[in-house]
Symmetry: C2
Subunit: 83 residues, 2 copies
């Protein structure tokens, strides 16, 4: 049971940024998206990825590697459409 | 070393939403914030919290309990200022 929760939680907290990115690209505006939020999240995901690699934690590596790609797209959207 | 990374990663990926919330309250607008993003994140954090409680994982419980409060405020901001 807890393992399923780990997968469901991972999918939700990793993929939740996809509808946010779609919204920014549709509206062609990211003024309301905080740059500090995006940068803290990106650095945080890199730190978690390093943690997973150092401790050989498969799910931590998997979710954070996927999150890294997604958040990088969000940062691109912020830099393109923000301000 | 990896333990420090876990704390740094946890602080960053939990507290990154604070500047986002401050930005929404300052701009008094949350149109660009995706409601689906906010809801997926909230449900995801609740699932991670249940996972932590079931497996008695202290840091997982701690970070997700803090995140739950923060994301609830983000949802409030979205419902107040969005659309």
């Amino acid at each position: 049971m807890p393992e399923y929760l780990g997968y469901i939680g991972g999918v939700l907290t990793t993929c939740c940024y996809v509808p946010q990115i779609i919204r920014v690209f549709r509206m062609k505006s990211a003024r309301e998206i905080s740059l500090l939020f995006t940068l803290m999240l990106l650095v945080g995901v890199v730190v978690w990825l390093s943690y997973g690699i150092l401790l050989s934690l498969g799910p931590v590596i998997l979710w954070n590697a996927i999150a890294l790609v997604i958040i990088a797209v969000l940062l691109y959207a912020k830099l393109k459409y923000g301000r």
